[in-house]
Amino acid sequence: MPTLRINGQSHLIDAPDDMPLLWALRDMVGLTGTKFGCGIAQCGACTVHLDGKAVRSCLLPIGSIGNQAITTIEAIGDTATGAKVQKAWLDIEVVQCGYCQSGQIMAATALLNATPKPDDNDIDAAMAGNICRCGTYVRIRQAIKNAAVSA
């Protein structure tokens, strides 16, 4: 029954250690912004940050997280990079159905934290794990570049 640090708050999770974080977030804590898409680390819809790094919560056992800080889409706007990315997304209307976009934004924010001025290769390497069934890739790429040059 681990205690998790989610968006700056502690939550005691009454579930077995091997339960993936995704379900703790969605079904227990009530943070439904993190999405379920595949459950096998193939789509990226469930991406959250663990100490600032993008991870797939659908396969991350809650027992292995310890004291690392979990950040979800609901709080990423409180970070400077996250806010920048969200704004870039809004400015050029990246979103279609939107279901993949929490994960896309989390992945893009982690990319910009690690690589503030990413080129196309960097974007490919960081974002290829995130599927968008609506096919918003052209705009995702553009929005990341816009976010990178915005102050």
């Binding site: 579930a15 339960m19 993936p20 379900w23 969605r26 079904d27 227990m28 009530g30 943070l31 439904t32 912004g33 993190t34 999405k35 379920f36 898409g37 595949c38 459950g39 096998i40 193939q42 789509c43 819809a45 979800t72 889409i73 609901e74 706007g77 969200q86 997304w89 809004l90 209307e93 990246v94 979103v95 279609q96 159905c97 939107g98 279901y99 993949c100 976009q101 929490s102 934004i105 974007i123 490919d124 390497a125 974002m127 290829a128 794990g129 995130n130 599927i131 968008c132 069934r133 609506c134 096919g135 918003t136 890739y137 052209v138 705009r139 995702i140 790429r141």
Partner: protein, 736 residues
Amino acid sequence: MTMLAPIAPSLSRRGFLTAGAALGGGLLMGFRIDVAQAAVPSALPSALPPGVPPVPNGYSINPNAFVAIAPDGKVTFQIPQEEMGQGVYTSLSQLIADDLDVALDRVTPVPAPPVEALYGSPGSGRMGTGGSRSVRSFYTVLRVVGASARAMLVQAAADRWQVDPKTLRTDNGEVIDDANGGRRLSYGELAQAASALPVPTDVVLKADKDLKLIGKPVHRLDTPAKVNGTAQYGIDVRLPGLRIATLAASPVVGGKVAHVDDGEFKKLPGLQLVVLDDIVAVVGPHFWAAKTGLDALDITWDGGPDGKIDSPQLWQALRETSAKPGALGTNKGDTTKAEGDRLDVAYELPFLSHAPMEPQNFTVHVKDGGCEMWGGSQVQAAAWNAAAKVLGIKPEKVVFHNYMLGGGFGRRLDVDMVTKAVRIAQKVDGPVKVVWTREEDITQDVYRPAYRNVMSATLKDGKVTGWSHRIAAGSVAVRMSGKPLDGGLDRGALEGATENNYGVPNFHVEFIEAKPRAINVGYWRGVAPNNNVFASESLMDELALKAGQDPVAFRLAHLSSTPRLKAAVERVAKEANWGSPLPSRVGRGICAQFAFGTFIATIAEAEVDTSGHVRVRRMTSVIDAGRVVNPDGMLAQVQGGLIFGLTAALYGEITIKDGRVEQRNFNDYRMMRINEAPSIDVYMIENTEAPGGIGEPGVTAAAPSLVNAIAAATGVRLRRLPIDRDKLAERKTASL
């Protein structure tokens, strides 16, 4: 902005729709609609601007059903269409807001209740979002609604001020009396009085030059909630006491549960096992518990007669059927008398799964002789009725809270996710959210039919003189209605095949139903044109080659009777630098298409390396969709549609073994990813022709242009999808 928290109007026992009550507490000046009298005032303009589609005779528009204005001037828009990513919340709100004369940010769309008498489409009378039809169907209706409401508000002001309404004007939510010092009344102040006025029987739509929103790129209303995680999809439903279930339905269509061994399952605490005829579900406190429980069961299925069907058998059956004559779709001249060199070909397309990013789910609470349910559907009324039917109750006893869709693509035109959830919920005390795994979502889909096209064409002096096309496929119409086809013809399967864009003098199209065993077919983004445009534009390319002509020039020479398509082809050739030199093993291919009321010409540029690997370098489309409501939204739809179509062309195929779908998740049902996506340029041709659909044209244009590009790059003509990379690699050994 949290406008997308679900707010679902409910239908009370007496059949009154009370928007105000449903929106939570009388803040709104609610319009009350008596459903029984829905077909009341019809407000139709006597004259329509050019290109604004007429509304069918007898269709009545009741503005009160669509618009509610609160005292603070906020406009609630009961939107009949579903938001599934195509931007319809925004474009339909633009239509209302422009003629109502309010800024877009004052409008909040909320899902309309499932009352087809009020919200059915003017064409079919049904509620449903699909076929790239939302704007086409509701363009005039919603402008009339806005204009009628505006006229009523103006009348209310005129009554209040005792002036002639003709002397008043409106601006962004206010009625202004210029003749009297510019005094103003806000819509919020006028709404109550306006609601009591009769609906005008004649309204005037804004002239094109006065439009402030329609045709202008606007920010989407649903985006803010979708970038900060607050947008709520069906899968996000949370309720007090909610339990979560996941299920396994018979992996063979028509199969049954034979035996469930629950030895291991029983060791797990806090779970409920639900075993139905053809479904096993586990209910638990959260999804993980339910899934762990389901995995612990050892289920034996009785596959029944289809339990031995494999894909090769299905293809053989389709090929046999396609050799027989079909029902006539269209005919002109006499193809048997057409002169010239003849080309006989067949094109084949596989079954496809929808795989929307949001796996299927529905939340249902069966209680007190009724039921309340939450979820996203492309067919609100059908979902509502289906739930009632399962329970054997009147639809009025079902309260349906409709949600945004994490992708539809036609999957949510079916209601099996609703009926399965209701059946499970019948066994559960309290509300239960039934969430499908991705594996269940892919293996229990209703699949885009497999097609075989038997075609032949004749060519004389560089012109196509004869064209015959037999489409063989399972009929989605039959599968969904359960009724046989009238005269053997599925009219829905003809779009994109029968238009004869190229003005061929002898032209014949027929359809033959080839119902596949062991698989249910359904509508898939792009519907029939997925097949028909692929077949037609592949054949056109082959004919150009046979005639020794450039594929663009060849098409242009045949497009004199279809000038809008011709203009699109000319423009796209220019934008894509058609004819400019390319490196070896890189080719361009064109697709000229008229479908969904929209003209689109597309050029793909693709590279095929010596191992057969295809890299799509660039896609260029020129689209003429007539009157466009949100140009940026249209560009987005074409961009996304092209990716959707390319994904299918490159990777998409559902196969069957032992009656079971073999693909299960994104590891074996592959999606195009950002590092494979081409650069995409979309250009629009602006005009005031009737609006065309935009959700699907990009999808159906992708495969033919890509396959034609591959032919140009390699000389290999692929007549089957998905693209066979091994075949392209073989060519390398043969010719290089």
